[in-house]
């Protein structure tokens, strides 16, 4: 568990805040300049065909609703580079994400955070410093073991810490879902 925290820290140290301009599913352009106007940024790493990721969409939307009023900006990031744009558009529309879904064809954001799984969430400061990478909550303990309701809300806790200017706690367990296929 500490391994990916360390890796994430290393990635930030090596590359610093990412410079990017990425289009979302509706064709709008987004750049890192948007982050500076926020009080914090959440990146949800997702794919169109991972059932665990899809199952989390309602909770992703609820968290966005709760924290957007406090200035946090939310993005979904399609972590797979081979999904056709038409599939991404259809998926985004069907699931009703309330925030932009970014296409990341060169995995700039995947590499910046070192996300390994979908769904996985990253919390970043407006200056582009990665503060948290990990599970959204503990509802899915493993692929075959789900809780009826989450009892730990790791991402919400991390956001409270980031907004208070404190270092967030590490996630209480590894993210569970579908591994991200890293491209060279």
């Amino acid at each position: 568990m500490t391994r990916w925290i360390l890796l994430a820290a290393t990635a930030t140290a090596l590359f610093g805040a990412p410079k990017f301009s990425l289009t979302d599913a509706s064709g709008a352009m987004h750049t890192d300049a948007e982050w500076k106007k926020s009080s914090g940024v959440v990146l949800y790493f997702i794919t169109t065909d991972c059932p665990v990721s899809n199952g989390y969409v309602p909770e992703m939307n609820r968290i966005a609703k709760d924290y957007e009023s406090r200035g946090v900006k939310f993005y979904g990031v399609i972590a797979d580079t081979e999904t056709p744009l038409a599939d991404v558009r259809k998926h985004a529309q069907e699931f009703g994400y309330t925030f932009p879904i970014l296409l990341d064809p060169h995995q700039v954001l995947v590499k910046f955070t070192n996300a390994d799984v979908t769904p996985e969430a990253a919390a970043v400061t407006p200056q582009g410093e990665l503060k948290y990478l990990g599970r959204i909550d503990n509802q899915v303990e493993s692929l075959s073991k789900h809780r009826a309701y989450a009892t730990q809300h790791d991402l919400r806790d991390a956001l409270e810490a980031v907004l208070a200017g404190k270092p967030p706690a590490k996630a209480g367990g590894p993210p569970v879902g579908c591994y991200i296929n890293r491209v060279k």
Partner: protein
């Protein structure tokens, strides 16, 4: 880059690097493609190299954990539809993923499997569809729903094959088809045509016509066997829905094929432990019980059942000569993957065989499936927060056997067991309907000679002897 190729070459001489075309495609086609192909129940297809290679790490991980293919039974008796990878196959996938998921030589690639469209078991005699579409919310707890479907038969029929067609493959997790003869299900459903039902169908069913889980094939009965269905029967389709992140609707259907009457009687043997009472925090609560077979039988299939706390299941047959045969073993019971396990060949068990059940439960906070947080005391019952410990054995009697005598002998054994397990009248589970509860209380009162509120062994024997004398 060349030195890397040389290294790979060395590895190859020690044990060839697995490739998709030569090693992986045959495993995927045989074990995964039935669901992992376009339009089927799985979330993605695994037919092409591109499909598989970009998910190599995921495939290696889920096969290593034996999460996929979904098959919970341990090696032992052979079942129909068994989808279990060997340790060697799992190692091949692991090595293939670790070596960068190479495609290999096109000449090695097997032909993609073909799946005929339409009904797999042939055109059915009658198709039954849910009375209306059911709406599944985007998230929240799984839904368990019973749909009442009148058969409107004008004569008795004998079901030879059952094929279920999920209407919405994204949310239908599993299905069980019960039979109702006395209208109990229609009363439960009211005008809506369906009702919430978590464990059983909420009434004592006349029987089970079949089941479905992802990857299962149509249920076609062995030669000489068919399931009698009487005129007036209603089908009760229990569906387990797993929300998928967006609102969905489902309208599932099923096809039945009819045939000749069976040449032998079918029956159900129920091994049931009602005496479940698990203290909060107990991570190893063991339940043991058994039923002795009053006649020779052939076991066609076994349906183990428990709720979220059960972790380990063992059902064995102890033969009169003392030998023990495993009927099923599940080391990581998962309520979400329950279903009937049908034997590839019926298992012959002689009269006097004891079917023994041993289930283990984890009611600690460390069990993520525990519906209560913090854990609470859990007793026998049909609700999500209760537990059960059951094994249903579908059996065929020998041709010409007295089916009525077989059932009567079993019922006496069930009553005896219940009385032995329930220490006193206050322990009769609330799930027992009021009429039966009254009858039991009256019988207990009549036979409780020393008036201590419970039946000791002698008193129980008198009651059973009395019941037996009334059954002639």
């Amino acid at each position: 880059m060349k030195w890397f190729a040389v290294l790979l070459g060395c590895a190859a001489s020690a044990g060839a690097v697995p490739t998709f075309n030569k090693d992986i495609a045959p495993i995927l086609y045989e074990n995964c493609a039935a669901c992992h192909r376009p339009g089927q129940v799985a979330p993605f297809s695994l037919l092409t190299y591109q499909d598989a290679a970009r998910r190599a790490k995921l495939i290696a991980s889920v096969t290593e954990k034996r999460y996929m293919p979904p098959w919970k039974a341990e090696p032992g008796p052979h079942f129909l539809n068994e989808r279990r990878l060997s340790d060697d196959q799992i190692a091949l996938i692991r090595d293939w993923a670790a070596q960068g998921a190479p495609e290999g030589d096109a000449a090695d690639k097997p032909a993609a499997p073909s799946f005929p469209g339409g009904w797999e078991a042939g055109e059915p005699d009658k198709i039954f569809t849910m009375p209306s579409k059911f709406a599944v919310p985007a998230d929240g707890p799984d839904q368990f729903r019973c749909f009442v479907i009148p058969m409107n038969l004008d004569h008795d029929v004998f079901v030879k094959a059952f094929e279920f067609r999920p209407g919405n493959r994204r949310v239908v997790h599993h299905a069980v088809l019960f039979m109702d003869m006395n209208g109990a299900s229609r009363r439960l459903a009211g005008d809506s045509g369906s009702y919430a039902c978590f464990a059983g169908p909420g009434f004592v069913p006349l029987g089970i016509l079949g089941g479905w889980a992802p990857g299962s094939s149509p249920e076609v009965q062995h030669d000489g066997i068919s399931i009698p269905v009487r005129k007036g029967t209603s089908l009760v389709l229990q569906l387990h829905y797993h929300p998928d992140g967006k609102p969905e609707t489902d309208e599932s259907s099923m096809g039945l094929t009819f045939g000749e009457p069976p040449n032998t009687a079918l029956s159900l043997v129920i091994v049931n432990s009602r005496g479940i009472n698990i203290a909060p925090g107990d991570s190893d609560y063991v339940v043991k019980t058994g039923v002795t077979l009053p006649q020779d039988v052939e076991v066609l299939g076994v349906t183990p059942h428990a709720h979220y706390l059960c972790k380990d299941m063992k059902v064995d047959a102890r033969l009169p000569d003392g030998t023990v045969e495993s009927l099923i073993r599940i080391k990581d019971w998962d309520f979400n993957w329950q279903g009937q396990y049908r034997y590839a060949e019926p298992v012959k068990l002689p009269k006097g065989t004891r079917v023994e059940m041993e289930y283990t439960y984890d009611n600690s906070a460390n069990n993520p499936r525990n519906p209560a947080n913090p854990p609470v005391r859990v007793r026998f019952g049909e609700q999500t927060t209760d537990e059960m410990g059951l094994a249903f054995l579908a059996v065929a009697l020998t041709p010409g056997a007295d089916a009525r005598a077989f059932q009567q002998a079993l019922i006496l054994e069930y009553v005896d067991q219940f009385l032995a397990q329930g220490e006193n009248i206050a322990d009769i589970p609330p799930e027992i309907p009021p009429a039966q509860r009254t009858a039991l209380v009256m019988a207990e009162t009549l036979f409780d000679k020393d008036h201590d509120g419970k039946l000791d062994e002698d008193e129980r024997k008198s009651l059973i002897d009395f019941l037996r004398s009334r059954m002639q």
